[in-house]
Subunit: 198 residues, 2 copies
């Protein structure tokens, strides 16, 4: 039984060192349950079962369901660094393509939907997501605009409005059509910055 | 007891005419439960209780929970007509202000979140929402662009990308910050159409 093996490994480990395979199994399963079942309906017992670990193995790591969900959400963090293609247009397209990849993976947007729908019951969950995930991604967009050459942007350009339009165009397209076309990133960037070279 | 009065009214009504007050109570309560509890967890019994009607009163009108949810979602439809302020900028700001009003009302975005999170279980619900609600709103944006004067838009302007950026900027701002600033509409429209008069 995989849970017993995991327990064994843990007991053999010196001190409080944790087996990263167990962490990985628990957090991956938690993300899956969050997206498919939602925070309110998911259970530690169900996660333990699907991750092949025991409930105590989870409670040794995270004190409650909210802590566990928060840890799992941290995994959605944009791991990529800020791209540097040499042009504002290229950097924005790279950032949007990357974001499109994370939104369109299984449960990608369902997860954000779950956070929005649970907001009144579990405000900490979406607060954590905002603080750790959206803030980080938006900072990379802002940095791309800050690196822009003077001829790439009109004076007084509203970077905050622009970042929200670029990111938001993916949400809106998915909500409307259930999919996002290939080359979407280039289309929105060229509509926002029509004077940029193509 | 309100449910008894409602029943009475129904029985007194000739033929199959329905009491619009009962419809109203049931649909309003269903929308509230959809947003707060979600489709999977909500129940006809709970809706009957909170609407002050009997379960049969609901089943006489809608055959199942999915039918009821679909009817309730239809109420979110944009009732407003297409604005005609005389300029593209004015029309887009009016449309966005309107959309902002519907997104920021209680449960507004939670409802969309619920639909996204339930998509794998209940694809009909979001399909209905797409067909009846988002399509109608987006058509009004597209019409505003089609009415534009030649000097209001650069040649070859990508209307679909623009509509998604404008609408999506509200989703992105809310997902990131939990609120949408006043005068947001004018900021995004002026960033998208920087050459428009202010």
């Amino acid at each position: 039984m995989p849970s017993e093996n995991h327990q064994q490994t843990e007991r053999n480990a010196p001190g409080r060192r944790r087996d990263p395979d167990i962490d990985e199994a628990i957090l991956t399963t938690t993300l899956d349950h969050l997206g498919r079942i939602g925070f309110t309906a998911m259970s530690i017992a169900g996660i333990a079962r699907d991750a092949g670990v025991t409930k105590p193995a989870i409670y040794r790591r995270w004190s409650c369901k909210a802590d566990l969900a928060t840890a799992a959400l941290s995994r959605l963090q944009a791991a990529e660094g800020s791209p540097s293609t040499g042009s504002l247009r290229g950097d924005l397209i790279a950032l949007l393509d990357n974001f499109q990849g994370s939104l369109t993976r299984p449960q990608g947007l369902a997860m954000i939907g779950m956070l929005l729908s649970e907001e009144s019951r579990m405000p900490e969950l979406i607060a954590h997501f905002r603080e750790r995930i959206t803030t980080q991604r938006r900072a990379m967009f802002r940095e791309a605009f800050e690196r822009a050459q003077p001829d790439e942007l009109p004076p007084g350009f509203d970077v905050d409005a622009a970042v929200n339009m670029l990111i938001g165009s993916l949400y809106a397209k998915y909500i409307a059509d259930g999919s996002i076309p290939k080359r979407w990133a280039a289309r929105v960037v060229d509509t926002l910055l029509p004077q940029s070279e193509t």
